[in-house]
């Protein structure tokens, strides 16, 4: 969950906050949850989006500044930069699709949109990444 939040926010400290809050939310409602794992994942994604919006307004500028260790291989840095430049929605879909390996219909369910919207956003994200990574 922390890794999911890290990929969505770009910050391990924010990610830990987000996941901690999400676990608190789940524990508060534990007795009434049918699917705690799915609920937790949804809360993490929603909290990352809220945190992202707040951070964007605070910074008033740049895409998320993701800091990697100095010895990170070039291709990882390149991929990080390209993913960080995706729009929030596209980044979320890419992470849920390729990091968590969730099917499109489940991603659509989490994000409250149609499966076709997930597919079209994923297609745009891939096209964007292909351009970024080939340049």
């Amino acid at each position: 969950m922390v890794q999911l939040a890290v990929l969505l926010t770009g910050s391990p400290t924010i990610a830990e906050d987000v996941v901690q809050d999400a676990f608190s939310t789940v524990i508060e409602r534990w007795d009434k949850l049918d699917n705690p794992g799915g609920y937790l994942r949804t809360v993490v994604v929603n909290n990352c989006h809220q945190e992202h919006r707040r951070a964007k307004v605070r910074a008033r500028s740049e895409p998320p500044s993701w800091v990697l260790p100095l010895d990170t291989p070039h291709e990882i840095v390149e991929l990080r930069d390209a993913v960080a430049r995706l729009s929030r929605r596209q980044r979320t879909i890419v992470v849920l699709r390729y990091f968590l390996d969730l099917p499109d219909d489940e991603i659509a369910n989490m994000l409250g949109c149609k499966t076709s919207t997930v597919r079209s956003n994923a297609h745009r994200a891939i096209a964007h990444l292909r351009r970024e990574l080939s340049s």
Binding site: P36, V43, L68
Partner: protein, 225 residues
């Protein structure tokens, strides 16, 4: 080419996550931050361990089944409102979304009502007429550097308009009472637009009330109408 890229994403995204989670070697700042955060991280680890174990013990066999319980947001007066359960497939009603994969065809702007925390927020697709009205309203706002967007709270936090395109702005709008923040495509920069009269929020609130929402959400949005 696409398959190669998809394969690369699958194999390298975990490394990106790992790298982002790993402190820079020899970085004083990281060390300081880690030291300051150590108690919270330890607590998080403990809570995570307990909750993960509990999840594993209590989770249904079918992990993909949608949850039926939702977070309880608060109305602006602090009263808890009851969110309805989200049975399988009970997504907010929406207009048809084009299935075209042509990246050059503009997608209609998608509006999300920021009201829930533990379930998908209600959304709807703007009609062409609404899109035109919204473009007009947003283009009349002036850029500001002094406004602050309010922190999000439980309950109604405004709207997000994705894939918004007007003559002046293109990107994702976060609409709150007196400020509209535009996260611009493609560079990701954010500009703030002052909306002292809340005209954009009220415009979206009117359209939101035309959507088939549950009573509690309608009641909250009506306060901003």
């Amino acid at each position: 080419m696409t398959e190669q890229l998809e394969q690369r994403l699958r194999s390298q995204l975990p490394h990106v996550a790992d790298s982002l989670s790993t402190p820079s070697t020899g970085s004083v700042t990281h060390a300081t931050v880690r030291h300051r955060w150590a108690p919270r991280v330890a607590l998080l680890g403990l809570v995570g361990l307990l909750a993960t174990g509990a999840v594993l013990l209590g989770q249904r066999a079918d992990d993909s089944a949608p949850q039926t319980l939702v977070a309880a947001p608060l109305a602006s007066n602090g009263t808890a409102i009851e969110e309805p359960a989200a049975p399988p497939g009970d997504l907010p009603p929406r207009a048809e979304v084009p299935t075209a994969m042509d990246e050059t065809s503009p997608e209609p702007a998608l509006v999300t009502i920021l009201v829930f925390s533990g379930r998908p927020n209600p959304t709807w697709q703007l009609t062409a007429d609404q899109d035109a009205q919204l473009q007009l309203a947003v283009d009349q706002l002036t850029v500001t550097s002094s406004a602050n967007q309010p922190d999000s709270t439980l309950g109604f936090n405004g709207f997000v308009v994705e894939d918004f395109r007007s003559d002046s702005h293109q990107g994702s709008l976060t609409v709150s009472e007196t400020v509209v923040a535009c996260e611009c495509y493609p560079d990701g920069s954010t500009i703030l637009l002052a909306d002292p009269n809340g005209s954009v929020l009220r415009l979206l609130a009117v359209w939101a009330l035309e959507q088939p929402l549950d009573a509690a959400v309608t009641s909250i949005i009506s306060e901003h109408h």
